[in-house]
Symmetry: C2
Subunit: 78 residues, 2 copies
């Protein structure tokens, strides 16, 4: 059983609505030093599969390869 961490982010240039909303809200709260906020997904998977299979799972379901990039890290055996 392996543990994977997957970081899903919008591709460069793709508009990120939740990030833009958080950015504006933080400035409205008085945090004027905030330059940019991008919000992606942090996915933790425990599975009895290899990394190539996890990559396939990302392409099919966990990420949207049209607008998102992702990075997979193996963090250990559970």
């Amino acid at each position: 059983m392996a543990r994977y961490e997957i970081y899903v982010t919008y591709k460069k240039g793709i508009f990120d609505p939740p990030g833009a909303t958080a950015e504006r809200a933080l400035r409205n709260l008085g945090y004027e030093g905030v330059e940019s906020v991008r919000i992606g997904k942090f996915i933790q998977v425990e599975a009895d599969t290899d990394e190539a299979t996890v990559r396939e799972m990302c392409d099919k379901l966990l990420a949207n390869p049209v607008i998102e990039d992702y990075r997979i890290e193996i963090v250990g055996e559970a």
Copy 2:
């Protein structure tokens, strides 16, 4: 200007609906080795502020401390 990465996850024991849905969907797609999927947020902040202020931003807006944990990493100066 500093760059921070924030990992927001549901606290242990808190039900994670998107994670549970992805888990079931992956098994239905034939990935039977999948044991568990948890989906949190991966937030990238560029700001001219210190880490204590970023922590405050998490408590007030970026995370929900009642049901979520978060971890902040400083990843560099932009």
